[in-house]
Symmetry: C2
Subunit: 352 residues, 2 copies
């Protein structure tokens, strides 16, 4: 506390990122990073961009990157907004589309940054209880509201909502914006980007941090009708005109162009996820069906809190959320095959 | 306009960055970029950072960079906040230290982003008229207010306020935060960072975009007492936990360590500025005394609007602000010696 803080600052309950411990080398299965590096072409493009031109500002409109993303999704540049990680894109979306007043809706178990944004921008919200199997209760999203946001697949559960259900939510909330946060969509889901030309109130947000192995470069984007994108641009240009640096832009363009590498790395992660899920089931775990690059698991005998600590002692970091309904679950990111074999071995010893 | 925009979005009057035209090659003297490239060590550090580790998130606390900046300024890491360009640091400072309610104070002629931030965060403000010579009227900053912000040297005038005057403003506004925006301080001024251990209400903001030739990488920072920095961290962690990417962090650290290159490049810019100012004075221009990497100039015969256009036709871009009191001035960034020789030649022909 400080007498110099604004009222909002005093009231904030900030987001806590997954730990990045420096004390020793861990197998990091706690922040949903991709086990495989960015594509060689992506790294080369970034090395090439580290040149004398860095004395110059980037292009604030990021046209080339936006064209590249648009082409990939069958949209136009005017339907694409880019930002400094999908967290920034989400923050700006809260400012652009949600008003203090009528509450927005999101699930009770979801990305823990949503209530934080709501706090920062004084947006009221109503939590909707996920069903007992952690699936999204579609009918609850059809009540009166000031906006809707949810991840698909959901985090930290990994559960996927089929496109038809998304379409129902978007269609029946025609007067407000529905944000589908697709950070993990490339690991097995179908993107709602396919619905954008049909619904002017749909905003789809994606990131380069997971499926494109660029968590270290902070690049995210939003897809939506051009009025929604224009709104985001207005907010961005009232906050920071140049959010993406030249090296990030070069890397992002190369990553989007290298489609084969992207497809291959997603495929490997999915295969490892399925193998890990099967092994965990055999060990007596409840494994929530996942379309993401992580698994949400619970064991009937050993508590999640205890297992978290024992894995940590064994050099393996996973994510534990000490929150109602999920305090007996762990979120385990999908690492390389070798890492997951070791994770299964250690876990088997602990629960065996 | 869109029915999907929030009330704030509808009311915004966004910042307009200096143009980055793609139609032909210009001599760019319009966005205060450094004519010299980042240091070779800085570029090498960034190339080296473009590696497989980019699959991992950066360290959200940016400790190494903060330590590096702290050492340079004789402060501790807890007195340093870093962000995605000083524009982002400024935006977060508005959120952290200013409340809707009592108006904040800034000059009528200043960085045109301040009223934009105020609009985005619903902060009232009162404009204080600069003196006729564009110097800051210190006594006006000693009235009741909810916070103070001004650049030193001021933009777009380039005028510098000596440290004793800054200290008076900080001292007599002890109950609220005084932000000194030092984007251009390395080109001839003395940083107010020297006052930080004396005044808990002083926040100094600097950038890597000008004196360290890294406009393309988006790195800025704030210096202040640790309570102020803690407030900024709270807001950052409620907006975007990872604002600086791994390549930017590596480049920033190298740039701060390469002190000789930094000093040399500042010295060259200052020498070129003085030479250019002398030549412009000879051509009949009023040249406001500048401690920045730009000059603010006006001619008694040819209007600024006309000169702007004629220079543009000649392949030279400068900045023209169509605003009260300064609509007969041009802001000219200091380029390389060759660029400025050419600028003087072309200008001499136009006004001669």
């Amino acid at each position: 506390m400080s007498i110099y803080w604004s009222k909002i600052t005093t009231e904030l309950d900030p987001y806590v990122p997954g730990e990045q411990p420096q004390d020793k080398k861990y197998i990091k299965l706690n922040t949903n990073e991709n086990p495989y590096p960015p594509s060689p072409k992506t790294l080369q493009a970034m090395k090439d961009a580290a040149n004398a031109d860095l004395r110059l500002y980037p292009t604030p409109t990021c046209d080339k990157l936006r064209e590249c993303i648009a082409r990939f999704h069958g949209l136009t540049k005017e339907q694409v907004f880019v930002g400094n990680g999908s967290d920034e894109v989400l923050a700006m979306s809260f400012m652009t589309f949600f008003d203090p007043g009528r509450p927005i809706l999101f699930p009770d178990i979801t990305y823990s940054f949503y209530p934080v944004y709501a706090g920062l921008f004084h947006i009221y919200y109503k939590l909707l209880s996920l069903n007992d199997d952690f699936s999204i209760p579609v009918e609850q999203f059809l009540t009166d509201n000031g906006g809707v946001i949810f991840p698909n697949p959901n985090a930290p559960t990994g559960r996927y909502l089929p496109l038809a259900a998304i379409e129902e939510i978007v269609q029946k909330n025609a007067k407000q914006v529905v944000i589908v946060d697709e950070a993990y969509i490339d690991f097995g889901g179908q993107s709602a980007a396919a619905l954008i030309n049909k619904y002017p109130n749909l905003l789809v947000i994606q990131t380069f941090s997971k499926s494109r192995s660029l968590a270290g470069m902070r690049i995210g984007f939003a897809l939506g009708n051009k009025e929604l994108i224009e709104g985001l641009e207005r907010v961005k240009n009232s906050f920071n005109s140049y959010t993406l640096d030249r090296v990030a832009l070069a890397g992002a363009i190369a990553a989007f162009q290298d489609k084969d590498y992207f497809a291959g790395s997603c495929k490997r992660v999915i295969a490892t996820r399925e193998k890990t899920a099967a092994a965990l089931t055999k060990l007596g775990f409840t494994v929530i069906p996942s379309a993401a690059n992580f698994l949400f698991i619970s064991h009937s005998v050993i508590s999640a809190a205890k297992l978290y600590q024992l894995l940590r002692d064994n050099g393996i970091l996973v994510r534990y959320f000490n929150k109602p309904r999920i305090d007996n679950f762990l979120r385990v990111s999908i690492g390389s095959e070798e890492e997951m074999d070791l994770f299964i071995q250690k876990t088997a010893k602990i629960v065996g």
